[in-house]
Amino acid sequence: MANSQEFVSRRIHSLLGLVPIGLFLLVHLVANYSATRGAEAFNSTVTFMESLPILIVLEFVFIYIPLLFHAIYGIYIAFQAKSNVGNFGYLRNHLFLWQRISGIITLIFVAWHVWQTRIQIAMGTEFNYDLMASILSNPAMVVFYVIGVLAAVFHFSNGIWSFLVHWGITVGPRSQRLASYFTLVIFVVVSFIGIRAITAFIQ
């Protein structure tokens, strides 16, 4: 049993990426999207989220701990690969490389984003529409947020594709190709939701 540690870690890494992290990403972006209906609507979403019982426990169990594991183990996986898209320029090989690049970008973005929002709240700042609007009044921040969201959504969508293979759900080439189209649609739709939410904070 001891020698399958790596196997088990990889499978957990794959599972956590979808549940809860991927699920959290969706909830988060959809919640942000309420900003498109104005500051009022966004603030009431925030109030609702903050009213959830045992919020801090939920955050640790469903977000911070899985995310940390996924991130740290992911860095190890990313730097183990020796990319060769130069000689093997196939689509899947490019996506393989971008899965690793987008993971690192997402990690940097999330660290910064947590510092700007969650940690500030923990230190006493009140979180509302205006806080985000002031962060996004800086055009450089808008660019950074757009890149961060696109990287996260790409990593999530392409991660679903890999999840389906790692768990033996899409086995043959046909089902894997269908999964490619399916995850492409997810990428487009979720990116739209995410970016539309960012622009809702720009006044």
Partner: protein, 249 residues
């Protein structure tokens, strides 16, 4: 036509530890030449493009019909068999290098031991030895035989390892071919009796979990083996086995 030349740039290495260097050759062209016959020209007349006498280039080959896997090398950036690499279909100068995944012995000859070790690790055989005659084994359904035959075409050539971004010095990955071989031997009605041993091996260090789905292997395999299908199938099998082992034993 008689003085048409084939231009080769070969990455050479004199001993396993010495530094590689490039040497250029111009050998007389003949119709329907392949890379092996170009190398044989150098063997016959070991003179480089500068007209200096040099050591003949070393390579490995056996079958000369793409079934033994011995002559794999990197030709114009792609790992493939030299015996089926036709000069007429290659862009010149033809760049020839040894496969970088394996330790070079000399020039184009590499040591593929790690592949044979991987086959031993996953027990890629069917144990039939006993102290008495066990009689004939169960028959294999024809539908399974047909696809299993495709998997059995693997010639341990190393191309899928060379193409894989996750097979390198930082990773212990045994490579795509070994995973496909487990699928082959686990499908065999007699081989299936030792299924779990091979699954355990695939779940061990450097096993199936190291696959990162770049899917280069299936594009590169000269025998057209559905490696990614085998890998996804074995993902399912190892997951099932791991869950069963966790909950029921």
């Amino acid at each position: 036509m008689a003085d048409k030349l084939v231009h080769l740039i070969i990455t050479r290495q004199d001993t396993p530890d010495s530094t590689p260097y490039k040497e250029e050759f111009k050998v007389p062209y003949r119709p329907n030449m392949n890379v092996i016959s170009a190398l044989m020209e150098i063997q016959r007349n070991p003179v480089n493009a500068q007209g200096q006498k040099t050591k003949p280039v070393i390579w490995e080959s056996n079958c000369l019909e793409e079934v033994c896997g011995a002559c794999s090398m990197v030709i114009n950036g792609k790992p493939r068999q030299a015996c089926s690499a036709l000069v007429d279909k290659l862009e010149q100068p033809i760049r020839i290098e040894p496969m970088s995944t394996f330790p070079v012995q000399r020039d184009l000859s590499v040591d593929r031991s790690r592949m044979f070790d991987a086959l031993k690790r996953v027990k890629a055989w069917i144990p039939i030895d006993g102290t008495y005659d066990l009689g004939p084994g169960p028959r294999m359904p024809e539908v399974d035989r047909q696809w299993a035959y495709e998997l059995s075409k693997c010639m341990t050539c190393g191309v899928c390892l060379e193409a894989c971004p996750n097979v390198n010095e930082k990773s212990p990955f045994i490579g795509p071919f070994a995973i496909s071989q487990v699928r082959l031997f686990n499908q065999h009605p007699t081989g299936a009796m030792n299924k779990h041993e091979r699954l355990e091996a695939l779940m061990g260090e450097g096993g199936i979990a190291e696959c990162g789905n770049s899917q280069n292997c299936v594009q590169a395999c000269p025998k057209g083996i559905p490696l990614t299908t085998s890998i996804a199938h074995m993902n399912k099998e190892t997951n099932k086995y791991a869950l069963k082992r966790f909950f029921f034993s």
